[in-house]
Symmetry: C2
Subunit: 474 residues, 2 copies
């Protein structure tokens, strides 16, 4: 499925505007096709897709971005904003050529406000680096996408990234309380601020969050922080029955406990990890495991919560329960979980579907996905965030012919998504629609809903310059 | 400040469409001018403003609303959606005449999903009634505007209502995970659902929340719930110095405690309550009190939190600390706090400003507001949500002449808002912009930001039929 379009490589006629880009940001910060580091901007982490832009530009300020957008307007050039390039739906791919606008140089933390629990950052800051910086101040920024070591806050905002802690703490959108952006018309706008409440006008901030760079280029972000919880407890529970594992999840919450993570991996996932890391993984012979973590500041509360969780797990026929006794053991459990994606995807070419359903429907989701893939002769491995119903289904090409993979996979994916939607779900929980899922958007949204998207996009970007050919189906 | 426009009372030419309204919803559910219960639809709880619509209609379904919107399109009639009529910014006032569309009959709870912690409701359900219903199931819907006994969830969604518990739990927007709405073009749309994560398309749900009925008429709402905390502790701490009271607020949170309410009342407010209820109020001689409540499920954690809060209060020179020892005492404290608005507003004609700043700036906000009002010879009483920086400043007309009140008040209000914005604040925390604050919106938002609002409004409602003359300045 390589849709790369060689015809988009620039002709000499485009040199004029590339020169102008260089005047805006300086020669070093424009990368032309053929340059050493050009290739990485042709792709993100979405399958094996590559789309070369006509140029890459790395501005250092909103002011430079404004000038780039105005140049793009004049030259009718697509602009594709780019964060860490870790996206899984092709949001940062220059599918229509044009300019890839990398925000990597705008990577400063502008303020950490310890009194009001807010931070102001530029979009290019690496998520984990930001998290570690605020944690050193006793503060906490919960969203933790698996790629947090290399993704950026700007990219997280564009995609509304989640992660395991979303269950208790919410996703990126729940922390974005203000932002600045450059619009397609070249205007700079600023919404929200260090305010827990603000109803002066429409919630423009949330319109930009998750809009995947199609409505504006975010240049500054105000993030809410919370106090860093001091303590956590982590446990791992294996089940012989996938359905029992999934059913235990709402039962835990019904007891008044909100874990900060409640993750699910099925046997095939554990075994893929075992093969990938080349050493045994705990409970890899069981049908599924739940990874559960609770956190807080009060020892005896966490003890009581772990005890209650243990009762529920027993009630739902967990066959064991391993409670981490040290930070090292906690990290070991999380390292296993965090490497799941890499391990599964290392098996062969893959297609990852980011299904999400109400959490009580996870058993039906997982068994339905297996049933569909079995029918199409596809191998699938599921893992993810059982607490919030967000299950990543990785379909592996393995030994399948290219022909079968290219022709039949889209049909199987459509079936998976129809099944997901029939359970009250959506076709993407945290990866975004981007380029690769837009054909499926009509499964999640009706014609009137999509038309409303088009109206909004047209109102904000009438020339369709900002990340064109994303989200909305053709 | 009565802007009522008698000229909008319907002529006989409008009878034709009123007849059609009756065909849509039935005769009983159209109220014509002059009918017994017409008067209440001319006003909400915003000052003494009255605007008679040309008719009131009370539909029972989205289908009926769709027909009403299509009729309004044809007849070019403004439609003003209305919930409980408790708004404080004039959102439900028919300032351009037309149809008041009351959602009072669409008041059912459609589903309470105990497994997934979601509820689906119609917009007309009374907030408190909804809360009590879910609490009986062990679930919790935190947003608690002071008017919760008579306001509706639909109104809360339109205004993005807050309340004391917003500090720990967020405001209405943080609980709205999906909605259905009828657009100005008569189309029904549906976004989101019982999903904690969903990134399939723009966050349209949040575009509608807080849009004050100007972008669509919300007909169904999916609300996230949480597990009901079993325990709470409530305390009241008086201070001789307003600044010390305000400074204690971020200090409590810096100790890792997030109270579920952290309210502030100044002496004048306590004394107004005392006069209003005709009996002594605790600590009414002190400069200010903080009302602090923590909640959870674990006794010893709450004890530890209360102890830590006590330490901080002592450090910031609280002169006393009253800890409620029974539910009756807790209710007594909250009754005092909840009656503050009514008590203050009963003194004379008033204008309430819903200022919000980063919480560390509350002392500067309150002293600045007093300084400005002193200079203009206006009496002001402040109280509100110190934890989230949202302070209600009630300016009282008292003995002032109508001329001075009408001419000078807007200038003083403008100064108050300029001061608020200079502290990083906004002109409304939870009451909305509606009709009475729109002239001040340019203090919170710049020209490019307001232009973006206009573009959105025009894209969604090109005829400007939905709640016209609200939010956006002329």
């Amino acid at each position: 499925m390589n849709f790369g379009c060689a015809k988009l490589i620039p002709s000499t006629s485009s040199i004029h505007w590339i020169d102008q880009l260089e005047k805006i940001v300086g020669k070093t910060h424009v990368i032309r096709p053929g340059a050493d580091d050009f290739a990485k901007y042709e792709q993100d982490e979405t399958e094996d897709l590559r789309f070369p832009p006509q140029a890459v530009v790395r501005p250092a300020s909103a002011d430079e971005i404004q000038k780039i957008v105005r140049l793009a307007q004049t030259e009718k050039l697509p602009i594709v904003p780019r964060g860490g390039g870790t996206g899984l739906s092709g949001g940062a791919l220059a599918v229509k050529g044009g300019i890839v606008l990398s925000l990597e140089r705008m990577n400063r933390i502008l303020e950490i406000d310890k009194y009001n629990f807010f931070a102001i950052v530029q979009p290019g800051i690496i998520t984990q680096q930001f998290q570690e910086t605020v944690e050193a101040e006793g503060l906490f920024y919960p969203p933790d996408p698996a790629s947090r070591g290399s993704c950026t806050i700007g990219g997280n905002v564009a995609e509304n990234a989640g992660g395991p802690r979303a269950l208790k703490y919410g996703v990126t959108k729940d922390y974005v309380y203000g932002l600045k952006a450059v619009l397609a018309n070249g205007e700079c706008v600023s919404f929200g601020g260090k305010l827990l409440k603000d109803v002066a006008g429409y919630n423009m901030t949330q319109l930009f969050v998750g809009s995947e760079g199609t409505l504006g280029i975010v240049t500054e972000i105000t993030l809410k922080l919370i106090a860093l919880p001091r303590l956590r407890r982590t446990l791992l529970a294996p089940f012989d029955d996938l359905h029992q594992a999934a059913a235990a999840v709402p039962a835990i919450m019904a007891r008044g406990i909100m874990p900060c993570a409640l993750e699910f991996m099925e046997r095939d996932c554990l075994q893929a990890i075992e093969n990938h890391i080349g050493k045994p993984v705990r409970f890899s012979k069981n049908a599924a495991v739940l990874l559960i973590e609770v956190n807080g500041n009060h020892e005896s509360m966490l003890d009581a919560e772990i005890e209650t969780i243990g009762e529920v797990l027993e009630e739902y026929d967990a066959v064991d329960c391993f409670i981490a006794e040290s930070t090292a053991q906690q990290n070991e459990i999380w390292d296993i979980r965090r490497i799941a994606g890499e391990a599964v995807k290392s098996i062969s070419l893959y297609k990852e579907e980011d299904t999400v359903v109400p959490r009580s429907r996870v058993p039906e989701l997982v068994s339905g996905v297996h049933e569909i893939c079995d029918r199409w002769g596809l191998r699938v491995i599921c893992y993810g965030h059982a607490g919030d119903g967000n299950i990543h289904c990785n379909i592996l090409k393995a030994g399948m012919t290219d022909k079968k993979w290219n022709e039949e996979l889209p049909l199987a994916v459509e079936e998976i998504f129809k099944h997901t939607v029939s359970l009250g779900g959506s076709i993407s929980g945290e990866h975004g629609i981007g380029y690769i899922q837009k054909r499926y958007l009509p499964l999640s949204l009706g014609e009137a809903e999509i038309e409303l998207h088009r109206q909004l996009k047209h109102a904000l970007d009438p020339q369709n310059l900002l990340n064109p050919d994303k989200i909305l189906p053709n």
